[in-house]
Structures are given as C-alpha cells and as structure tokens.
C-alpha cells in the first residue's frame, strides 16, 4: 500500500496541510477575523457575506459550509468569531467542528466589548493554537485516504480536448490507488447527463442525477432566459465553446471512467474511495468551497482561458491544455498538458504528469495558488436575504 507523509487526525482522517482557520459566523465579524489573520502569520480567515437574515435550507447551507470548512482535514485548529446576534449559531458550529477532535475556540464580539478587544483576544488565542499546531509532526499515512476534487473553470475548447481527458486519466489513478474523486457543477453536465447516468452504480443514483439536472434546468426556465451568455460565459464563447451541451460534453471527461457511487448534496461529507457527484453550481468559487466543505484534500482545476483562483483550506492545482494560456499565465498554472494538442504528449503521459503533481502536493509542495495567497471562499445561496 502506497503511503505519503501527512498529518494523521484523531478521527482517522489524513490532513495534507495544518491550517489554523478563523471563521466569522456572520459578515459582521469579517473585519475582526481579517485583522487577526494579518497579525498572526500563516492563519486563514474566510470572510463571507452571509450568516444573518437567512432562514431554513438557505441558513442550513451556510452553516454546513462553515462547519465543513472547519472540519476539513487540512485544518488543524479553528477559531470561531461571532457578532453575538446572528442566525448562524456559533455554539452549534463549534460543537459540530469539535466532533473531529481538533481544538475549536469560540467567542463573540458583543460580549467581549467591540472590535479592538475582540482582535486582541483572537490574536492571543491564535498565538497559542499556532504554537500547538507547530508541534504536530507528519507521519506515514495511506494514500488511499486522499480525496481529490475535480473542477474546470474559465474553460475553452482545449479543456474538452486535452486538460479534462488528462485529468480523467489521473482521476482513474487516484481511484485505482483506493482514493476518492468528487466531481460537481450540476449546470455543466446539462446535455451530457445521459452519459454519466449510464455510469451510476444503480438506478436510484442515475435517477437522482437526472433529477438534479432537471431541477436546475427548470430554474433557468423560470428565469425566462437562454442560459447561453451566463453559461457558457462570454469568455467560454470567445474560446470556441458554442453551447452548454458542448461545454458539458467536454467537462465530464475530467472525472475519469469509474462508476458513480452516489450523488451527494452541496457541502455534504464525501465518502472514502470511488467516484461521487456533488450537486453544486458551476460557479468556480462556490463549487470549490462546497467540495472543500465536503472534505476534499486537493482540488485539480483545469482551465483553458486561465484563472488565478485558489481555495481557503485546500491546495488547488491548475492544469491547462492551452499553450498560450500556459505562457501568458505561468504565474498561476501548475501543470502544462498543451503538448497533447501538438501530438507531443500522449493522454497517459499527460495524466501521469497530473498524478505526480497530486502526490507531490499531497506531501507538501505548494501550488501556485498557495504561493500567491489565493484563498477564495464563497457560499452558495438558495434563498432570499430577509
């Protein structure tokens, strides 16, 4: 069994990073969290727009993404900062994250007496937790515990011709080694869902996959608009993609060829081993944030047009099959598979290049997005602000 050096967590998970995460339960706590992040190096804050004026499933979704991000195995310790009157319950959030066994501290700005005192208090906690995390050592852990998310964004026609099939080859290697793959972007399987439905492990899973696509398409119909222009986006179209069907057919190859073992909700915990579909929007940051909240360790992200985005608690590996984009945006690109378009690089070679990068990043190599401090975070909404 292949092993890597990573952090063995109390609950049996493995962590490939050891972040101290600072979570605002509500937008009103963002600034306090950001100031603490600035004061204590190598901490991560996840400012967001939500946490209040939300009800029902929409409120629960915000809670689930915050809880899931805190529970992500790449996070070693968590500080939760509440305003004190919002709808997301900070006590319940702390309890949920503590189930993993990691240290979680929580306080609110109203009780502590304003921003200045809250920042000071948070810095003291962060100093102590950082010291504790610094004492933890990596050990040999099974590579089979790794969960890799596959995503594409800023697509052009090279995505479907090269980078996505190459990532699919690497995804099959991840699954072959016992690991897990999660694919999402419900919008971006419209027109290709029949191909994925045939690959589901049973009829119930196929039906669920088809039903989430239908539900999304009905939402678009309710808007009374052609989705073209929104998706495919103006940049996708400039890059040669004509319709959502064409984009989708190019997208799905990135998850490889394994059977789909289940369809999970946005931000739901990703089961170990095999291929899963997460019902999620195509929007890059919302989708990746949901996958990280589901417990993905790494995101493999193909792009044709080029995009710099990273993620708060997971390394994002950028892969392009567009030779111009690799040259223009080398700052942001980790893996170049553009040789596939000239016949210089075969599918297997390109896929192995991505697999090697996955293993190196899992053992600690920083991705370009990490080096540049890209820590994008965004929560999908399903209800109105009240």
């Amino acid at each position: 069994m292949r092993t890597i050096e990573a952090y063995a967590r109390d609950n049996g998970d493995i962590g490939i990073r050891n972040h101290l995460l600072i979570i605002p339960t509500v937008i009103c706590a963002n600034q306090v969290c950001n100031r603490i992040m600035q004061m204590v190096p190598d901490t991560i804050s996840i400012p967001h727009q939500h946490g209040c004026s939300q009800i029902g499933a929409d409120k629960n979704r915000t809670f689930d993404v915050l809880a899931g991000t805190g529970k992500n195995p790449n996070v070693g310790a968590v500080i939760i900062i509440s305003l004190g009157c919002e709808v997301v319950d900070p006590v319940a959030l702390a309890e949920e994250i503590r189930k993993t066994g990691k240290p979680v501290e929580m306080f609110d700005i109203q009780s502590i007496g304003g921003s200045v005192k809250a920042i000071g208090h948070g810095v003291e906690i962060a100093k102590r937790l950082k010291a504790e995390l610094g004492r933890q050592r990596k050990t040999e852990v099974p590579l089979a515990k790794l969960k890799v998310a596959v995503k594409c964004g800023g697509s052009d026609s090279t995505s479907g011709l090269s980078s996505n099939p190459a990532l699919g080859f690497a995804a099959d290697r991840v699954i072959g080694s016992g690991g897990g793959i999660v694919i999402g972007e419900t919008t971006e399987i419209i027109g290709a869902e029949h191909l994925l439905a045939r690959r589901c492990s049973d009829d119930g899973i196929s039906e669920k996959l088809i039903s989430i696509v239908n539900r999304f398409e009905k939402e678009v119909e309710r808007m009374g608009e052609d989705m073209r222009g929104g998706n495919p986006s103006p940049g996708n179209i400039a890059g040669g993609l004509t319709t959502i069907e064409e984009k989708s057919l190019g997208c799905i190859s990135k998850c490889g060829s394994a059977p789909i073992r289940g369809v999970i909700e946005y931000a739901e915990s990703i089961p170990e081993g095999g291929l899963y579909f997460m019902d999620s929007p195509g929007n890059d940051i919302e989708c990746v944030s949901g996958m990280a909240a589901g417990g993905a360790h790494i995101v493999c992200f193909t792009t044709g047009r080029g995009t710099p985005t990273g993620a708060a608690v997971v390394p994002v590996i950028k892969i392009t099959g567009n030779p111009r984009t690799f040259k223009l945006m080398e700052d942001n690109m980790d893996v170049d598979v553009s040789g596939m378009l000239t016949g210089e690089l075969g599918l297997e070679q390109a896929g192995d290049r991505i697999w090697d990068e996955i293993v190196e990043v899992a053992e600690g190599k920083w991705t370009k997005a990490e080096v540049l401090g890209h820590q994008e975070f965004s929560i999908n909404r399903i209800g109105p602000s009240l």
Partner: protein, 108 residues
C-alpha cells in the same frame, strides 16, 4: 473518443459521427485543413477564417439539424451551414437551458 492527436494535424475531430472539427491553430480563408476522421485522413478548404479552438463544418449541415461533436448533440443549426464554414453562436443554438423558449414549449 480520440485523444491522441496525430503530429502535424491542425484540426481534430473527436468522433466519427461529428459534423465539426476543432482548429488547433489560427487558420485563414481558403486554407486546406487536414484532419483524421477515425483512420481516414480528410481535407476541407475553409471558406472563412477560423481561430484556434473554434469549430468548422466538415460536412454540409442543413438548417434545423442537430449538430454533433464528441459523437453527441451539441446544439441545432439555425441556418444551412456549408462545409468549411465557421460553426459557432451565429449559426448554432443550444437546445438545453432555454428559458427564453419555455413558454413556447408549454404552448405546444
């Protein structure tokens, strides 16, 4: 699906059922383009410039026909498209995600 792209091809056809090829470099009007369709090597003369990553018709397509790439339907032609023409948003529309046509479908 053919992912192994032959050296010196300047366009790729993903499946033998396809109506379109994708340009692997910027190509000019009148250029003869060689590509593989399965084992067969074919040539098409471009009647329009086609940019890198864009598609051109490798067969003539009638108006209202379902257009294929990857062997699957990517949309429907909105006009007759001659072999060698640029194929994109000006002559193909999506069939799915068409909220703008939802009322029309309900009326039918």
């Amino acid at each position: 699906m053919s992912h192994e792209i032959a050296r010196k091809s300047n366009a790729i056809v993903m499946n033998e059922l396809d109506h379109v090829a994708t340009a692997l470099k910027d190509m000019k009007v009148g250029e003869e383009v060689r590509f593989h369709v399965g084992a067969e090597v074919r040539e098409v003369r471009l009647s329009e410039a086609v940019a890198f990553g864009h598609k051109f018709a490798i067969v003539s397509i009638e108006a209202g026909e379902e257009v294929r790439k990857y062997g699957e339907v990517i949309g429907r032609s909105t006009e007759a498209i001659e072999e060698g023409s640029h194929v994109h948003v000006h002559n193909i529309e999506g069939i799915r995600g068409r909220g703008d046509q939802a009322d029309k479908e309900e009326a039918n």
